[in-house]
């Protein structure tokens, strides 16, 4: 692997690991908060127990979220010193404010976890609200740096020097709200479906022999489906807006996402398939005529610039088409699954779900996480060759230090160990502290 590719893989690897735990770190606190609030409202002790058990799970996940996040922050400076020099001069505010978000989250999470029995119920809810705010803020702020990379603002380059720096203009760069919003709502989507997924799996196990546990998990499943369903719908709406921003600000990314080579109006939307560079089209995909123009600019007459109208070395890798599709298809499936699940239970008043349905619910959590991965790799790889769009190339930002290969494999190894360990600890912990042991104490 050449130097630049190694650096990119190393960073992508770290982010790909961090984002799983980070997203859950945003999504699950919301679910815990809702469970606490439901308990407060309904006095149903099941919800209190849910909050407790999910908190345990979240605390274990943090054992990977925090170190991988710390690695991300430091690695930015180690691997991309050229990029961080500009960020330091122009876009330091979000990092700075993020520190406070981390503090709020860390302080109040510790308070919630380790002082729960010493503080009032109201203080518990306040602590959780602060944890959720801290997590959301840290996601929004760091995403803002990513938004800035795609739609840089607040400075100019004059003879190689950075001038007219306006840190707040950089902060409120054109895609800040849309992109951060997308990340936030997609994290809540994921939190909801991951909870639903685990609950469905447990229901399958408790189905025959344990009606009490079955009921408990059923409540969790419905909570997950409702939250996941609402937020996946919002994610899709907001994703549509993200797409319009990409059309406006990074047209070659849009062209690559859709495998569009020729500039045209009434452009078709290609779903599925693979982009073939030689034949200049998407093979084996389904085409929806005119839809791309409509979705990008709200009119069939919108002209979409094709890849051929950009210099070849501005093209992002063409496989991003598949990633983009993966995200959108998963998004649509999630909305559908939640909708059917809720209608089945609430409106058709069916007591239980058919087994095949349950397995579909089990799949939603992993699917949501896959959508997160697809979306991010699409967004970051689709920005190539730029680290800051049309301002700095990734190759200009990369470190000049050698020996990245060994480090790459060391990081890979440590991540494998950490991810395996976190999975084992979760399984071990919940096996040692099964619901059945905690439920009777709760039964009133």
């Amino acid at each position: 692997m050449d130097h630049l590719v190694t650096a990119r893989s190393m960073f992508g690897l770290n982010m790909g690991v961090h984002i799983i735990f980070a997203t859950l770190g945003v999504g699950i606190p919301l679910m815990i908060l809702l469970a606490e609030i439901l308990y407060y409202k309904t006095k149903d002790k099941d919800y209190e127990l849910m909050a407790q058990r999910w908190t345990k799970g979240a605390a274990v996940l943090l054992g990977v979220a925090i170190p991988t996040g710390t690695i991300a922050g430091v690695q930015l400076a180690l691997l991309w010193p050229g990029f961080m020099e500009i960020v330091g001069k122009v876009m330091a505010l979000p990092f700075q404010i993020e520190i406070y978000a981390f503090f709020i989250e860390a302080l109040f999470l510790s308070i919630y976890v380790y002082a729960a029995d010493r503080i009032s119920r109201k203080m518990r809810i306040i602590s959780l609200v602060l944890v959720a705010i801290g997590a959301l803020a840290s996601a929004v702020l760091i995403t803002n740096v990513h938004a800035f990379e795609g739609t840089p603002a607040g400075f100019r380059i004059l003879n190689g020097e950075i001038v007219s720096v306006d840190p707040w203009a950089a902060f409120f760069n054109p895609s800040f709200f849309v992109t951060s919003g997308h990340v936030a709502v997609s994290a809540y989507t994921t939190g909801g479906f991951v909870i639903a997924s685990v609950a469905a799996f447990k229901m399958l196990r408790a189905r025959k022999h344990n009606p009490r546990e079955y009921k408990f998990h059923h409540k969790a499943l419905m909570m997950g489906l409702v939250i996941g369903g609402i937020f996946s719908f919002v994610t899709a709406l907001n994703g549509h807006e993200s797409m319009q921003k990409v059309y406006e600000y990074q047209p070659e990314k849009l062209a690559a996402a859709e495998g569009l080579f020729e500039t045209q109006d009434h452009a078709p939307l290609a779903l599925g398939g693979f982009t073939d560079e030689k034949e200049q089209r998407v093979k084996y995909g389904i085409e929806f005529p005119w839809m791309l123009s409509f979705l990008s600019g709200n009119s069939f007459n919108t002209v979409i610039t094709g890849l051929n109208d950009f210099p070849r070395d501005y093209w992002p890798p063409l496989f991003v088409h598949t990633l983009f599709n993966g995200m959108v298809i998963i998004g649509s499936i999630l909305i559908l699954v939640a909708l059917v699940g809720i209608v089945w239970y609430k409106f058709l008043k069916k007591k239980s779900f058919p087994k095949i349905f349950m397995w579909v619910f089990v799949a939603t959590g992993p699917l949501a996480i896959m959508a997160i991965e697809f979306g991010w790799i699409f967004a970051c790889t689709g920005r190539q060759p730029w680290v800051i769009y049309r301002i700095m190339r990734t190759s200009e930002a990369v470190t000049t230090s050698a020996n990245l290969h060994i480090l790459f494999f060391l990081f890979l190894l440590v991540y494998i160990v950490l991810v395996a360990a976190v999975a084992l600890v979760l399984v071990f912990y919940f096996r040692r502290n099964p619901l059945s042991k905690e439920l009777p104490a709760q039964a009133d």
Partner: protein
């Protein structure tokens, strides 16, 4: 105060806080490993009780240092980021293993290999300060070569330098010293007198060792970074003051008191002051260099406009956060008596 001086003061403040909190954190992890078999004294329990709620907060400070560094001194970050790739990555790897296994060991308390988890996190924990502190001698110059126009750290020279090893020795002994001292105070204030006896003894052993290492640093500095040595010597009164505070701490631990021997609270306060004075002298003498001799706080400084927005955000942020820190401190440090016997949620 000029802008750049203000900025480096903020960074120095973060580094100082992290140096104290971090050494306590890593040291506490180490002690909880060492005393894992002595269940009678509760020494491991006390260490974990301190560690569980605080490690996350402590970790934020390391992020805060990095962020403050690249936002205030982007040029310095470019140099440091380039040359520290390897040591920085080693620190990151150790940190991730340490934090991960620390958490895992808490949640796998009845697991038969739990001990292995505790050992992994305890040992990687004491190695972290050792590597972190190596940044200091590197920033004093002499280890960076310019090859083909790019800066490279000469690792062979780093790992064969006695100066680097004095720093490493100092980092490890200080971690053990500060943490045993803090844990002594912590166990006394939560009436764990057996644990107190253990940690008081450890502090009495590791304290003199850390002072010895500090003296070693000064000796090796004389030859390897004489520019810094000469400047530090201009602050002799403060350095003597610092040693004086160390002596005060030692006496405080030996004095009789109503309950158990020694006054650990007084010792903790004087040791923190001691480190404060010593790091002030070190930091003050290091100026104006961030990385000697190429990067100074002037030529590495960010855009002044950016600095002003950042600084305002700092003030506002910490003002908002202060009550949170206070509440946290009250729950876990001050009222730890009622907390002591209870299991976490």
């Amino acid at each position: 105060m000029g802008d750049s001086l203000l900025a480096i003061t903020v960074i120095w403040g973060f580094i100082f806080i992290y140096a104290v909190m971090g050494t306590m954190d890593f040291g506490a992890g180490f002690w909880s490993m060492v005393y894992i078999n002595r269940t009678k004294t509760n020494a491991t329990d006390v260490a974990n009780r301190y560690l569980s709620p605080t490690w996350e907060v402590t970790n934020v400070f390391i992020v805060a240092i990095v962020v403050a560094l690249f936002s205030f001194f982007p040029r310095a970050t470019f140099t440091l980021g380039t040359v520290l790739l390897v040591p920085g990555s080693i620190i990151l790897l150790l940190l991730s293993i340490r934090s991960g296994f620390l958490v895992f060991s808490h949640y796998a308390s009845s697991f038969k290999y739990r001990r292995a988890l505790v050992y992994i996190s305890g040992i990687s924990g004491v190695l972290i300060p050792a590597f972190l502190i190596a940044v200091l001698p590197v920033s004093q110059g002499g280890f960076i070569d310019i090859i083909d126009g790019t800066q490279r750290l000469n690792l062979a020279r780093v790992f064969s330098s006695p100066h680097v090893y004095s720093f490493i020795g100092f980092a490890i002994t200080s971690s053990l010293f500060l943490s045993s001292l803090l844990l002594a105070d912590y166990s006394k204030s939560s009436d764990e007198m057996e644990a107190y006896a253990v940690y008081r003894r450890d502090a009495l052993i590791t304290g003199p060792l850390s002072l010895l290492m500090a003296i070693f640093i000064m000796i090796t500095m004389q030859s390897e970074a004489s520019w810094l040595y000469d400047k530090m010597m201009q602050f002799k009164p403060l350095l003597y003051g610092s040693v004086g505070l160390f002596v005060v701490a030692g006496i405080a631990l030996l004095l009789p008191s109503q309950k158990g021997k020694g006054m650990p609270r007084l010792a903790v306060v004087s040791i923190v002051l001691q480190y404060f004075l010593a790091s002030y002298v070190y930091g003050r003498s290091h100026l104006p260099y961030v990385v000697y001799p190429n990067v100074t706080i002037e030529n590495g400084f960010t855009h002044p406009d950016a600095f002003h927005s950042l600084f305002i955000v700092y003030i506002v942020g910490f003002a908002i956060l202060f009550p949170g820190f206070f509440y946290f401190w009250r729950l876990f440090m001050k009222d730890n008596k009622e907390y002591s016997k209870k299991k976490p949620y």
